[in-house]
Amino acid sequence: MPGFGEAGYYSYIGIFILFGLLMGFGAYITSWILRPKPTQSDLKLEPYECGEQTQGPTWIQFNARYYVWALIFVIFDVETLFVLPWALVYKTFPDIGLAFTEMAIFLLILVVGLLYAWKKDVLKWT
């Protein structure tokens, strides 16, 4: 929004969130008005599992394998957040050799971590 300074500049984000919600809720409301609403039988509201009856609960403890991937992901995703500001100023940085060496050391530590996980067979889906 012009005339509201910095906050006005970023207010577009909030307004676009509202537009997104408008699209979602608008679709819900339109279909709620237009769609037929027959009474539902119990059989129709079963979970869809290709005609079989559901066996046991769905919400059980899940394989720990996913947890390890998520841990590695968090490390590397935070790392990308550190790399981006560095990349942003790399071209204009006064001492480019220093900038390069610092990031090389940082990335080297991460690569060692990746190699460690690799050697420990964490990066294996079995």
């Binding site: 929004m1 012009p2 005339g3 509201f4 006005g8 500049y9 577009y12 984000i13 307004i15 676009f16 969130i17 537009f19 997104g20 919600l21 408008l22 699209m23 979602g24 809720f25 679709a27 819900y28 339109t30 279909s31 237009l34 769609r35 037929p36 539902q40 119990d42 509201l45 079963e46 979970p47 869809y48 290709c50 559901t54 769905t58 919400w59 899940f62 394989n63 996913y66 991937w69 998520a70 590695i72 590397f76 995703d77 990308t80 790399v83 981006l84 990349a87 942003l88 100023v89 790399y90 071209k91 480019i96 050799g97 990031m103 990335l107 690569v111 990746l114 990066l123 889906w125 079995t126």
Partner: protein, 351 residues
């Protein structure tokens, strides 16, 4: 009259009206701002709906021709109105909420997946100066917003209380988080060379020479396209909704308009991935070597990228889950690290 002139006319008309009605300049400015927002938002929502429908038609046509069929050809010329007929059909479908679902989570998931899809259009560079909002950290913003869809997909998978949906949701989370790291790292060399995260400046930096015209550019582009395909769950990375194993993955239990919202979000994300690829590597609205610039080129590049994604879908077989994870972490990640190091050395020697 172009769209830009039309919005200009509208804004002038609103400020004129506010002034003649005797409002103070502050209020006139406020009304003008609201008019601008409505114009931009209306344009973006219209663009999303039209493009999503066009893409659904295009996907069916492309898949038809790749399998020696004709594809939709009855409704309208070349079957162009097929998507509209489908949308009307989905709108008129009854809504089935299975009795075991976690109601609030299940109900909110389609809305939450649509919001980031719309929000990503905030930084869509149609032409020089034709960006709804040229954020100075546009690329990071789009990447961050894009990962919100993981939450929505997991909500859908978990809330459905259906084993197929749950497995689909878990697989999606594992897949998207694995491929997000290479996708961001593939873009880092571009940021290093352009010295900016805003789409406007990244594209300006390519006004003569696209980023694709170099060794690191080709490597980055390939890494980005592969990880982008994985992030939007398209074949060959479609294990989250693998039809032959999981019925439809996380949206098994959705019907009617809720299903349609997932569909629109999927195709919108396709546009976003193609937009990032064409803005960051293919010079956005610029032709190479200063041959000209036009929004037409931007849209043509986006559609060419989308065609590439469709081509992938109908020619490659699906990857197994272990192959996919190993490919992301053991192949793409080291290559993108090496690419960053190579560009860093090259810049340090050159500057």
């Amino acid at each position: 009259m172009s769209l830009l002139e039309l919005t200009d006319k509208l804004i002038q008309w609103v400020s004129e009206m506010a002034r003649t009605q005797g409002y103070s300049p502050e209020w006139a400015g406020f009304f003008t701002a609201i008019a601008i927002m409505l114009a931009v938002g209306g344009f973006v929502l219209g663009f999303i709906s039209v493009v999503a429908m066009l893409l659904i038609w295009m996907e069916r046509k492309v898949s038809g021709h790749m399998q020696s069929r004709i594809g939709p050809n009855r409704v309208g010329p070349f079957g162009l109105f097929q998507s509209i007929a489908d949308a009307v059909k989905l709108l008129l479908k009854e809504d089935i909420a299975p009795k075991m679902v976690d109601k609030p989570v299940w109900w909110l998931a389609p809305i939450i997946i649509v919001v980031p899809a719309v929000l990503s259009f905030l930084c869509f560079p149609f032409h020089k100066g034709w960006i709804p909002l040229d954020l100075n950290l546009g690329l990071l913003f789009i990447m961050a917003i894009g990962s919100v869809s993981v939450i929505a997909i997991f909500m859908a998978g978990y809330g459905s209380n259906n084993k197929y949906s749950l497995i689909g949701g878990m697989r999606t989370v594992a897949q998207i988080i694995s491929y997000e790291v290479p996708a961001i790292l593939a873009i880092v060399p571009v940021v290093m060379l352009a010295g900016s995260l805003s789409f406007g400046q990244i594209i300006e930096a390519q006004s003569f020479r696209w980023n694709l015209f170099s060794l690191w550019g080709i490597v980055s582009f390939i890494i980005y396209v592969i990880s982008g395909t994985a992030e939007i769950n398209r074949t060959p990375f479609d294990i989250p909704e693998a039809e032959s194993e999981l019925v439809a993955g996380y949206h098994t239990e959705y019907s009617g308009m809720k299903f349609a919202l997932f569909f629109v979000a999927e195709y919108t994300n396709m546009v976003i991935v193609s937009m990032i690829a064409s803005a960051v590597f293919l010079g956005g609205y610029y032709l190479p070597f200063g041959l000209g610039a036009s929004p037409v080129w931007m849209l043509l590049k986006v559609f060419a990228m989308i065609f590439l994604l469709m081509w992938f879908r109908w020619t490659f077989p699906r990857l197994r889950v272990d192959q996919m994870m190993i490919f992301g972490w053991k192949v793409l990640l080291p290559i993108s690290f090496a690419n960053i190091a190579w560009v860093g050395i090259w810049m340090a020697l050159k500057l």
